[in-house]
């Protein structure tokens, strides 16, 4: 799980071009939107694309997306839940 979260943080930084942000700057449980990283609605679309490209997970329901994209922790848990046992 820790390795997945670290990889996810690196992918978020790259996908959103978060200059001057390092993986250790992102708290696992900090909100991604509003406070925390201060991302916006376009970033949420970018994160959906990130999930699809890197983990082959398509989020169809926007309400589900809102829960998944709360933090790095919730994203990592969702990815793990979708991976074959």
């Amino acid at each position: 799980m820790e390795a997945l979260k670290l990889k996810l943080k690196q992918q978020i930084i790259e996908a959103l071009n978060l200059q001057d942000t390092k993986p250790e700057d992102i708290d696992d449980n900090a909100p991604l939107f509003g406070e925390g990283l201060g991302l916006d609605s376009i970033d949420s679309l970018e994160l959906m694309v990130l999930l699809e490209r890197n983990y082959h997970i398509k989020v169809e329901d926007p309400r589900e997306g809102r829960k998944i994209l709360q933090s790095v922790q919730t994203m990592a848990e969702f990815i793990q839940s979708k991976q074959p046992a």
């Binding site: 071009n17 978060l18 916006d40 376009i42 970018e46 694309v49 699809e52 490209r53």
Partner: protein
């Protein structure tokens, strides 16, 4: 068209030191390809970090030039924002098209798609300065900037705007440079700007840049007196049009104190300039500009910026710009004091 169109302020990002306010023409040394790249300023002084991270190079260039131009003009919110671009955000367009192919039309990033639209810079400028007035972008290859200028002049002439932010922006990508190389637009051998007029070879040096102007009906030291465009004209038609254009403004060729020409050292098209200067301006000082900024769709915007710079430093009553883009789009811009 009635009226004078006064230039209140300018700004340009180009391969020259045009943005810093310390411009003296420099002949750059090209390292590996016939491309003059812009000198980029520190964009962080003009654009919020959260917006900056998402923008491609040409968007940063265009937005920053527009903001600086408004600052230089003392205008907070213009009555209209009008731009011209030959290719818009090439980088984003290419990225988006590559992703369509790579991901088989699925999982496409929204950002390059949004930014690849030609009017992105206009939208960003409008958002930044909170301008909800007239907003238009012209995309007509070598006439893109000219149409933006014409639209601005028409708005002022009709009294529909008191001041207009008008400008142009274009970037060169590696892929587009390569495509244009294949059709012979650029010189084949590496040619330095200082050699481009004597090389005697076909093709130009490629370039890029962004230039903005605030035009207004309020008098200032320099104004645009007229603009004329010609599409694929014969040499004779260029000459007839110049004669009529000058006559329309009550001028003779000898009244022109400075000719700013778009000579590029391209043996395919420089004959237009040779013939025009030989016939009408044998004694008039001529300043070519493409050794400074290279060739691109909206290079005439750099010429206009240069003309205003010269007129503000020298006692010139009338300056004429003559530019043509690969023999297709020909433009005359007349400036007065």
């Amino acid at each position: 068209m009635k009226g004078r169109f006064y230039i209140q302020g300018t700004a340009a990002i180009s391969p020259q030191e045009s943005f810093s306010g310390e411009f003296t023409p420099q002949l750059l040394t090209l390292a590996d390809k016939n491309l003059l790249r812009v000198k980029e300023p520190d964009y962080r002084a003009f654009i919020a970090p959260n917006s900056l991270r998402r923008m491609s190079r040409v968007l940063k260039m265009g937005l920053t030039t527009a903001i600086r131009c408004l600052q230089n003009s003392g205008v907070a919110v213009p009555d209209a924002i009008i731009t011209g671009t030959g290719k818009g955000s090439l980088h984003d367009t290419e990225r988006f098209l590559h992703d369509i192919r790579r991901y088989s039309e699925t999982a496409l990033n929204p950002t390059p798609f949004i930014q690849s639209t030609y009017n992105s810079v206009n939208g960003l400028v409008a958002l930044q300065v909170q301008c909800t007035e007239y907003n238009n972008t012209f995309v007509h290859r070598g006439f893109s900037f000219e149409h933006a200028l014409l639209d601005a002049m028409m708005l002022l002439s009709e009294g529909r705007a008191g001041n207009v932010l008008a400008g142009a922006f274009d970037e060169m990508s590696d892929e587009y440079f390569y495509i244009r190389s294949r059709i012979g637009s650029w010189k084949e051998q590496l040619t330095q700007p200082e050699e481009m007029f004597t090389a005697g070879t076909p093709g130009a040096l490629s370039g890029e840049g962004s230039a903005f102007f605030v035009l207004s009906s309020t008098p200032s030291d320099v104004h645009i007196a007229g603009l004329k465009m010609l599409y694929k004209p014969s040499q004779e038609r260029v000459h007839e049009t110049l004669e009529a254009f000058l006559r329309q403004h009550g001028l003779q060729p000898s009244d022109i104190g400075l000719l700013i020409s778009g000579r590029s050292g391209d043996t395919n098209f420089d004959h237009y300039y040779h013939a025009l200067t030989a016939q009408y301006f044998p004694q008039t000082p001529e300043v070519p500009f493409k050794q400074l900024c290279g060739e691109y769709d909206t290079a005439a915007s750099f010429a206009l910026w240069l003309a205003v710079e010269r007129m503000r430093k020298e006692e010139l009553r009338h300056v004429l710009i003559y530019n043509q883009f690969f023999g297709e789009q020909h433009t005359f811009i007349l400036l007065g004091r």
